[in-house]
Amino acid sequence: MTDMSAGSAAIPRAKKNSILVASDNMRRRNAAEARFKIYGLAAIAVSMVTLAFMLVTILNDGLSSFKQARYSFPVSLTAAVLDPSGDRNRDEMAKVTTVGYAKVLIAAFKAEIEARGISTEGLSDKDVSDMVSKDAPGELRATVLANPALVGTSIDGSILAIGRVDGFIKGRVTMETAVRDGNVSPEQLQLAERLIEAGILTSPFNWDFITNSDASDQRPEAAGLGVALIGSAYMMLIVLITCVPVGVAASIYLEEFAPKNRWTDLIEVNISNLAAVPSIVFGILGLAVFINFMGLPQSSSLVGALVISLMTLPTIIIATRSAIRAVPPSIRDAALGVGASKMQMVFHHVLPLAMPGILTGTILGLATALGETAPLLLIGMVAFVDEYPSASLGGILDPATALPVQVYGWAQRADPAFIERSNGAIIILLIFLVIMNVAAILLRRRFERRW
């Protein structure tokens, strides 16, 4: 016994390699495994958090652009100023400029402040009148000229406040910043506070942001997206008309008819390369070919649309080709078997079956096209446009701008109020993109077929 115990004590116990207890090495390897998995999760988390953060900042900065500070007070439209001839003739009245309307407006504003007993201490008359937007007289003039019978009556005016007062309500402008600001004084903001208490200064929903055209640097409060929305709509329409037929026709040829030869190879290589050419290069192409060579007008939606069509074409071709390829060969064989010609087989059978896929690809291509900015800068769509393009066919040649270009244009302006507008424009742009993408997903879900 003693021998045995002595013997067992003499032999050093070999380290036990149990499968139930993890060895150091295994523990290390398992820890590395866990770390590796966490890296992966962290990478995804980083991109998700960044995405969420970006969207939140945009919503945070941009949602306020859908509200706009306005004064509501009665404006009596003095006939003596607005219609000197007194016969309510629209052409005669059009001779009164905004200066006349400004007078009426400011008088009404001051009268209201006095009538409500709101103190304007520390403010000169000019300080008070400066709190009304420079765009307000123009708005009033348009209202009156549209309905000359209003002259001589008193209307309930909803009058734009200046951008700084608007910013004060939204928290962008504070008493501290106003001290250093040449455009607004703390006293004016105190008056604004009193006006809010009296219910004169409110922030209703800002329809003008969606319908107005762009406004000059000094009037952020009046700037709107109207021209950009029309321009983008025209462009998407033209892209749809030019790009989809050409893209589908090219895909049909390449998938169903093209013989395997050098020319076809060249086309294939070209399409995949075009898909990777930087967008700005397409802008240079547009400038050189469509504007300098063909002499089409700068900043027009037609040129913008043509450039974007060329950019979108590869996307649509790639999507359409995979949709056509997904149609099983048995369909083709059956069609040919009952005596259809190759052309009939394609147009009567393959194309209708590939349609959902083509539509989905087209919508996604258009969504990318809608957000494209860089090439449009080169063809002059960043210029200041404050007239709506005409609604007739010739409107595609009128100067216009596009949603993403407007985003960029506003971001370049000095007044921080334009950054808010810029973010507001992004929100509208993103809403369109979400709608298009959801439509594409629904289409795919609804019509997707598995053979």
């Binding site: 390897r29 010609s341 985003v407 960029y408």
Partner: protein
């Protein structure tokens, strides 16, 4: 007859031809469709095509040739001094066209009758004021030669319009007569129509090539002009970039190239690890259901327009980096910097790298994983030692595509990188890229004869060649990799 009206007329004629030919086919077969070679609709389409194709071709050719002929003849009548070289001729002809257009406007407004407009001369009438009243403002007074040329121009254009309509209609009617004549039960209308349709399909597929040709030629032409005015060596190896619209500019590419590559490098430092680890997680660890909603969510990033990222760089990332890194570290106080643009482009590139790598990792055969796991390797060891080395060429291709996208990215650098062309190592300093300068030199008032504008085309060409090269390499690498496992 205006072009729009003529187009409408051609379409109406074409539709008429459709029905006429279809009727003719049916009646020639005695009303029995089975005796016809093709379905009746094909005879109709044949009629339509025979009218529309020749008519449109004639119209388009006329529209292209007429201005050339008229310009040649007018400039032959102008005195030598006005058309001494190409630039002077272009200037004079532009003036002639403007005056002619102005006279059209005057006649349209009713201020002059058509005959009077051809009789007026500069001694008795102040043409400039006349045109101004019709809404056409001219830069200078109209010289007698130009006025005469403009009147001749209008005369020829008027005859041209008549000739155009006449030719197009005659050709279309001839087509109609031909279509009706050949229509009989044995005529192979379907083959003819399908031949034309096939031709249209081929034309459509060649547009991709035309686009590439257009890109290359539009840039090559101006680039050659630029190198005629500025030495090619000084462009590619110059160290200073200081365009000056009064002339005497320096266009050294190197500072722009440095800015571009530095920003691209930063963006890749952000995008490659995040994108690659996302791809590994999605391909190797995530369950099928997680993958199904996580992958589209990452791809949402790719669907956001770059101008939105630009705003993000300008408003959020730039000031954040400036206030918390650059200023405390004493590295500068500029919101727009290499870091700002690089990080934001990196975020934009995550989904590209991740979804390309994901596809590539998925293409690695399962048997290789099973072999490694069977030998007792953990999952991460399998990924690191087996899957990634096998997928490496493909991943390199994906990264190259990412690099080419970062080099060509415009909006983010325009809004986030700054405009100062500098050769500096400090990542918190504002630097600029080729794309920024292309936008800068080509927006606003541009003079397409000055090197200050033309340099943008040389930059565009350089950019095109670089990105094209990267893409071709990437495609070759990826293709070779894919073949390896197919």
């Amino acid at each position: 007859m205006s072009v729009t009206f003529l187009l409408g007329l051609l379409i109406v004629l074409g539709v008429a031809a459709f029905f006429l030919a279809r009727m003719r086919a049916l009646s020639s077969a005695g009303g029995s469709v089975r005796k016809l070679h093709s379905l009746p609709g094909y005879y109709g389409w044949h009629g339509f095509l025979m009218v529309a194709l020749p008519g449109l071709t004639a119209l388009v050719l006329w529209l292209i040739i007429q201005p050339m002929v008229i310009e040649a003849r007018i400039s032959a009548t102008l005195p030598e001094a006005l058309v001494i070289d190409a630039a002077a001729r272009e200037l004079t002809m532009g003036e002639v066209r403007r005056v002619a257009g102005g006279l059209d406007a005057v006649v349209a407004s009713g201020a002059l009758s058509t005959t009077d407009s051809n009789k007026i001369d500069t001694t008795s009438t102040n043409v400039r004021d006349l045109l101004k009243n019709a809404g056409v403002a001219l830069g200078a007074d109209v010289t007698p030669e130009v006025l005469k040329a403009a009147q001749a121009y209008r005369g020829m254009a008027g005859w041209g319009a008549v000739g155009r309509s006449f030719l197009a209609l005659v050709v279309a009617l001839a087509g109609l007569a031909y279509a009706i004549k050949v229509t009989n039960p044995d005529f192979r209308a379907r083959n003819r129509v399908e031949f034309v349709v096939l031709g249209l399909l081929i034309v459509a597929s060649s547009i991709a090539i035309l686009t590439t040709v257009g890109i290359v030629f539009s840039m090559l032409n101006e680039t050659i002009k630029f190198f005629g005015q500025y030495p090619i060596g000084a462009f590619f190896f110059g160290l200073t970039w200081s365009p000056n619209f009064r002339g005497d500019s320096d266009f050294g590419l190197l500072p722009l190239l440095w800015g571009t590559l530095y920003i691209t490098f930063v963006s890749m430092v952000v995008a490659v690890p995040i994108g690659l680890f996302s791809a590994i997680y999605l391909a190797e660890y995530a369950s099928k259901s997680t993958r199904n909603w996580l992958k589209p969510l990452i791809e949402v990033i790719a669907g956001i327009p770059t101008v939105v990222f630009g705003i993000f760089a300008l408003v959020t990332v730039g000031p954040f980096l400036r206030d918390y890194f650059a200023q405390p570290l004493g590295l500068g106080d500029s919101g727009s910097s290499v870091m700002t643009a690089g990080i934001v482009i990196g975020i934009l590139n995550i989904p590209f790298i991740s979804s390309l790598s994901d596809d590539i990792i998925n293409a690695v055969p399962q048997s290789m994983r099973d072999g490694s796991l069977g030998l007792g390797a953990t999952k991460s060891e399998t990924v690191r030692r087996v899957v990634l080395p096998a997928a490496l060429p493909g991943i390199v291709g994906a990264i190259l595509i990412g690099v080419s996208r970062a080099i060509g990215e415009t909006m983010i650098v325009v809004m986030g990188a700054g405009a100062a062309a500098k050769l500096s190592l400090n990542p918190f300093e504002a630097m600029t890229t080729m794309t920024v300068k292309i936008v800068g030199q080509l927006t606003g008032d541009t003079d397409f004869a000055a090197p200050e504008t033309l340099v943008a085309f040389a930059l565009g060409m350089t950019l095109f060649v670089i990105t094209l090269g990267l893409n071709v390499i990437a495609l070759v690498v990826v293709r070779r990799y894919k073949e390896q496992y197919e």
